[in-house]
Amino acid sequence: MIRRRALLGLGVVALLALAGPLFSPYPLTLVTQALVVAILAMSLDVLLGYTGLPSLGHAAYWGVGAYAVALLATDHGVGLAGCAGVGVLLAAATAAVFGLVAIRAAGTYFLMITLALGMVVWGLAFRWVSLTKGDNGVSGVPRPELLASPLPFYYFALAAAALVWITLGLLVASPFGLTLRGIRESESRMRSLGYNVWLHKYLAFVISGAFAGAGGVLWAYYNGFVSPTDVQLVTSVEALLMVALGGPGTLAGPVVGAGVIVFLKNFVSLYTKRWLLILGAVYIGVILFAPRGVVGALRGRARE
């Protein structure tokens, strides 16, 4: 089963790689965007789908990664490796601090606390003008020369998303990943078996934050512009919807969800400004007709 899914996933990656030169410019940027956002959605799913922790502040770690790149690359001329390293580390460090506060809570309270912590980062991005340039954001983030044109960057994003998919796939299939699913199913049983549940959740939180940061790093290069919008609540909600829509507890799900949301968002906004209204309707539809998400529903049907 797992082998078949891995083959299917690799097939999709290969297809996307082959299709690269065939895309016209606008679809190419959209697919690239979907791949970058998919990293955020996959990282969130480690918490939401596998550990059962609904984080509503994931834009915070994504934003820390993105701002790190934007500030280092524009003001200090730091290269890709340096920016990526610092971005991921800072995102992980932020998650390590926030996790100390958030992991004490469960369920809706966890949701509220992660939301509040996300707002703290948004507040800093918005108000700490001397560092973040406030509402104006940081523009003109330079891409490395090799990735300057859209097609190479597309391949870079594809490789990054595939790498995250493989790494997180290994993580969730590992004994540690099994402990996360155990926590999702029954914390009290995990405790009585001898697991320090807090520690496992905390580790998952930090790992998830680090990967969200990696997505943010890519986002800064993709967009060339980082502003408080990237850190705001709507970004966290969209990530949560991608996971819910695609199928929590699967890694393919968030990728599918990211694709659907990115395309819907760009397509719908051609016709109306009421994008969030459409998003809400889509979400209600999924909850009613495929509560386990698109991928979850497909797998359930395949099993029957």
Binding site: I2, L171, A173, P175, L178, S188, R191, L193, L203
Partner: protein, 247 residues
């Protein structure tokens, strides 16, 4: 003389004005099979939760294998060799039978933090999990999702999870709860066949099973120990007969 496996001194748990467990002292010796009986609301499950660490005590001390564990969280007590089952089945319902058992097998090994190899890459743990499942009579359902098992099979899995960590003290909270008479007999056989080195403290409503498996019986009533003795002593204790056996 060997050290007591479990020693409670004046253990109490009050919920507001309600004294659910009210100064219980008892000792359980190595290898003993002890039944804990008492009418509904006597405080049996609360006492289990205090011993396992699920609930903090409001008074008294708990010693496990000579260590004062009164302030220990549940996982540290488990690490000392304590395992328990739950009265209301508490399993990982969305996972497979094998995954449930693997979680129990890896719980006290460093493998639980391993992230780089899939679960299948640890053949020793897999073999142990399968052996435990076979020992409780759950074979051929490794890949089944636990939510789809029958109640009887879920009770067997409860025991498997508790045994997987090779515990020295096993707390069984009504292992036959909700089982048919035939399933109860199977469960009783399974429990009778447990390694004699494992000390067992068991809550059981079915008096036949409790008295068949246990050599000593402790009777709890309104949060207090009212009798403690051999099977026959308990059977003939007039106070016990009055409040518990309803004679």
């Amino acid at each position: 003389m060997a050290e007591d496996v479990l020693r409670l001194d004046g253990v109490a748990r009050h919920f507001g004005g309600l004294r659910a467990v009210d100064g219980v002292s008892l000792t359980v010796a190595p290898g003993e099979r002890r039944a804990l009986i008492g009418p509904n609301g006597a405080g049996k499950t609360t006492l289990f939760n205090l011993v396992a660490g699920t609930l903090p005590v409001t008074g008294g001390t708990i010693r496990l294998f000579g260590t004062n564990v009164t302030g220990f969280p549940p996982h540290r007590r488990a690490a000392l060799g304590l395992a328990r089952t739950f009265q209301i089945t508490n399993l990982f319902l969305g996972l497979t039978v094998l995954e449930n058992c693997l979680l129990a097998v890896q719980a006290l090994t460093p493998v639980r933090f391993s992230m780089l190899r899939p679960v299948g890459g640890y053949p020793a743990l897999q073999a142990r999990a399968r052996a435990i499942l076979a020992a409780v009579g759950l074979t051929g359902v490794d890949g089944a999702i636990v939510a789809n098992l029958s109640h009887g099979e879920q009770r067997q899995l409860e025991i498997a999870l508790a045994l997987a960590g090779a515990p020295r003290l096993l707390l069984l909270d009504e292992p036959t709860a909700g089982l048919s008479p035939a399933e109860s007999r199977l469960m009783a056989e399974l429990l009778a066949g447990l390694d004699p080195a494992i000390t067992v403290l068991m809550i059981e409503h079915d008096m036949d099973i409790a008295l068949a498996l246990a050599s000593r019986v402790t009777v709890l009533h309104q949060g207090r120990v009212i009798a403690d003795g051999s099977r026959d002593e308990i059977r003939n204790d007039p106070q016990v007969r009055e409040i518990y056996l309803g004679v």
